[in-house]
């Protein structure tokens, strides 16, 4: 009896964890799949609806057909989008504005963070605190004063082979880029990441005769891939989604970004199929970018201990 009992008690600790692990793993996957479905359904609905006429979109709403590419499918909504909105122009503008903002944002903010992380500056702690403090000011409160300010700023305009000084940045590309290059959160994120890179590497480089810029460009930045990816995404998203600012500072249609185009569809006789088609067109680049950088994005958030 005692032997039987011993055998039973001996088996329990061996068999149970494996079974428990399997159950845990199964439930974890179930939760993940369910979450995946929940989060992908709106995108799926958007894309599938973009292929259907309006009447069918509403007709399918009460069934699973709303998420399935069934019925009368065509690309008519996509061609209609180009009739209503200069979509290609808006897409090119947004790609250009976002790309330049990202490239300059990574450069400027990483340089600022590098200085704060590596250089022996007096009061750099206070400077970093002040930079972080700007995060609590919502952009909406600064928008109007900023409009006034950018309208006073000078710019060198290139006319053929001559340069001329103009005043006011309204209705230009630069007004959609320059105010968003310096970013407190990006500086903070870079700073946190740079702090995790051993300073001994700098010292070794210095022994080899490297200056600050060489340490920045050859040592620190090549080791900061995840931070660069995260800052790129976090800079790209607001630049791509920018709505209020271009609305206020851009009047010419040929300079507008994609998000302004969404409102073009909410006039009389709203066509939901066209809205879904346009939404699909402007969502695709964002999803592609996120998929491309998602591993670095998650790594950086995890290693810097920052939740965006």
């Amino acid at each position: 009896m005692a032997t039987i009992l011993e055998t039973k008690t001996a088996k329990v600790p061996v068999a149970a964890p494996a079974k428990r692990r399997r159950i845990r793993s199964l439930s974890a996957w179930t939760v993940r799949v369910l979450l995946g479905i929940v989060f992908s359904f709106p995108l799926l609905f958007m894309f599938v609806s973009s292929l259907k006429p309006d009447a069918q979109i509403f007709g399918d709403l009460s069934s699973i057909a709303a998420f399935l590419p069934v019925g009368n499918l065509s690309f008519e909504n996509y061609s209609a989008v180009f009739d209503r909105v200069p979509a290609a122009r808006f897409l090119i503008n947004s790609i250009g504005i976002s790309a330049v903002t990202v490239v300059l944002g990574v450069l400027i903010n990483s340089l600022a963070a590098f200085a704060l992380s590596r250089m022996q500056l007096r009061g750099k702690g206070i400077i970093l605190t002040l930079i972080i403090a700007t995060l609590i000011v919502p952009f909406e409160t600064l928008a109007l004063p900023l409009v006034w300010w950018v309208n006073q700023l000078p710019w060198l305009e290139v006319n053929g082979f001559s340069l001329s000084l103009t005043t006011g940045w309204l209705d230009t590309y630069q007004v959609q880029i320059i105010p968003f290059i310096a970013n407190a959160f990006s500086i903070y994120l870079f700073h946190q990441y740079f702090e995790s890179i051993p300073k001994e590497l700098d010292e070794a480089a210095r022994v080899d005769g490297a200056g600050w810029f060489k340490i920045y460009s050859r040592i620190v930045m090549p080791l900061s891939g995840p931070a660069i990816a995260t800052v790129s995404i976090l800079t790209f998203l607001p630049a791509w989604n920018s709505y209020l600012w271009p609305l206020m500072v851009v009047q010419s249609e040929e300079l507008r970004p994609v998000m302004i185009g969404v409102q073009y569809f909410f006039q009389l006789n709203v066509s939901w199929g066209e809205i879904m088609a346009y939404s699909s067109m402007i969502t695709l680049p964002v999803v592609a970018l996120f998929i491309a950088f998602q591993r670095s994005f998650v790594n950086s958030i995890a290693t810097s201990g920052v939740k965006g």
Partner: protein, 427 residues
């Protein structure tokens, strides 16, 4: 290190000082200074109206050599934000279009200058003129009118009399009609008042119902207080009745996004929609369509008046050319061109003669008659923008089940406080 830091600091300060110095040069030239006047419209994405405006502009540009008009279109929902931002930078264009009820606010904020036109505005529908303090600041080429649309066959099936301009439905008749239609069992909600609408739709569509009960958004004599008007007994009766439509299952608390489409798909029996939907509905339903006036809820049917209008900005460097353009755009053939493209009500009888359907006896003439007979302007006060948002909040609360008296009292308190804090909007 210290030297390097000092050098960096010094160069940064120099750049900042240079930028600030150059910034002092001031903004560029005012619109119209070089003979090119910019015209802003809310019609981006609305091809029929935008194309019609562009045609009028092209005709004006071809008709003279003194000035050229350039059109810039914005999406409607965000148009006001663009204007306010431009005004803050002193960058308004010469010509702007304005939603009628906003005219007093823009005139008070000195965005607009009084109109000096050679056109005789006395022949225009009153609701197409944007007045404040006895001065006309804006003029529209069209108006729109709200109506009740139904299928005659549905009304017959429910044994309901069709309302006419001479004999609109009374409140009791309307309530009985809804009960009969509901009893047919064909619709979850027989009435669609467009309760999914937001923004200016709420005061445009529902404040006339409140006014028909005998209430109002504000004391129109001086427009200094809403107390005793927006929270008066008739206003509370409106709120109770309005919520009752939801409670009795006659109307959805939140309708579909496109009420006209739902009506045409036979998801409702009666829809409260504008003249802009008339042609589409007639095309779909033919003679079965009944276009009826709004309900007489006590003091006669009322509908909102005042649609988009045109004004000239105070900063325009060439106001004479801007006024010339407005005179040109107000010629009958140009009014007719826009009205034809948009299915709206032409501002004058002379223009109406040129728009098929709006001539005397035409199929859409009844909508012009609704506008002439029943339209009530939203309060002509700079406080209107605030009143509008407070009324929208109160209406949403009432639809969601709030006690009407409390919701309206809250709106009155906020409106009066706003007027007081702006010193009565008198200067």
């Amino acid at each position: 290190m210290k030297t390097r830091f000092t050098r960096l600091l010094a160069s940064s300060l120099s750049v900042a000082a240079l930028t600030a110095g150059l910034a002092g040069c001031g903004a560029g030239p005012k619109d119209g200074a070089n003979g090119e006047l910019t015209l802003w419209t809310h019609n981006a994405g609305n091809a029929p109206e935008l194309d019609a405006i562009q045609e009028v502009v092209d005709a004006f540009n071809a008709s003279q050599d003194n000035a050229t008009i350039k059109v810039q279109a914005f999406p409607q929902d965000s148009y006001n934000d663009s204007v306010v931002a431009a005004a803050s930078a002193n960058k308004l264009p010469c010509l702007v279009d304005i939603d009628g009820p906003n005219v007093p606010n823009w005139a008070w904020a000195q965005y607009l200058r009084p109109l000096e036109l050679s056109t005789d505005l006395s022949k225009h529908l009153d609701s197409t003129l944007g007045n404040w303090n006895g001065t006309t600041y804006a003029v529209g080429t069209y108006d729109v009118a709200l109506s009740l649309m139904a299928r005659k066959s549905d009304l017959d099936a429910a044994g309901v009399r069709g309302a006419t301009i001479e004999k609109p439905w009374t409140k009791d008749e309307f309530d009985a009609a809804l009960a009969s239609l509901k009893a047919l069992g064909r619709w979850d909600y027989p009435l669609d008042l467009g309760t999914a609408g937001t923004g200016e739709w709420t005061p445009y569509a529902y404040s006339p119902l409140l006014q028909s009960f005998g209430g109002d958004l504000i004391n129109r004599d001086g427009a200094q207080s809403a107390d005793g008007y927006l929270n008066s007994a008739p206003a509370v009766a409106w709120g109770t009745w309005f919520r009752g439509l939801v409670e009795q299952g006659y109307m959805a608390q939140k309708s579909g996004k496109d009420s006209t489409l739902d009506f045409l798909n036979h998801k409702s029996a009666i829809v409260y929609t504008g003249s802009w939907a008339a042609d589409k509905a007639r095309e779909a339903l033919g003679d079965d369509l009944a276009v009826m006036p709004s309900v007489d809820l006590g003091t006669g049917p009322k509908i909102g008046g005042g649609s988009w209008q045109w004004g000239v900005s105070t900063g325009c460097a060439n106001p004479e050319a801007a006024m010339d353009y407005l005179d040109f755009s107000l010629r009958s053939e140009n009014i007719a061109k826009v009205a034809k493209a948009t299915g709206t009500i032409p501002a004058t009888d002379a223009a109406a003669e040129l728009v098929p359907g709006f001539e005397p006896g035409g199929t859409n003439r009844i909508l012009m008659d609704f506008s002439k007979k029943f339209s009530v302007l939203r309060p002509e006060t700079p406080a209107y923008a605030f009143i509008s948002s407070e009324f929208e909040k109160a209406t949403a609360d009432i639809l969601a089940g709030a006690v009407p008296q409390k919701a309206l009292n809250r709106a009155v308190k906020n409106i009066d406080a706003n007027i007081k804090s702006n010193k009565g909007y008198t200067n």
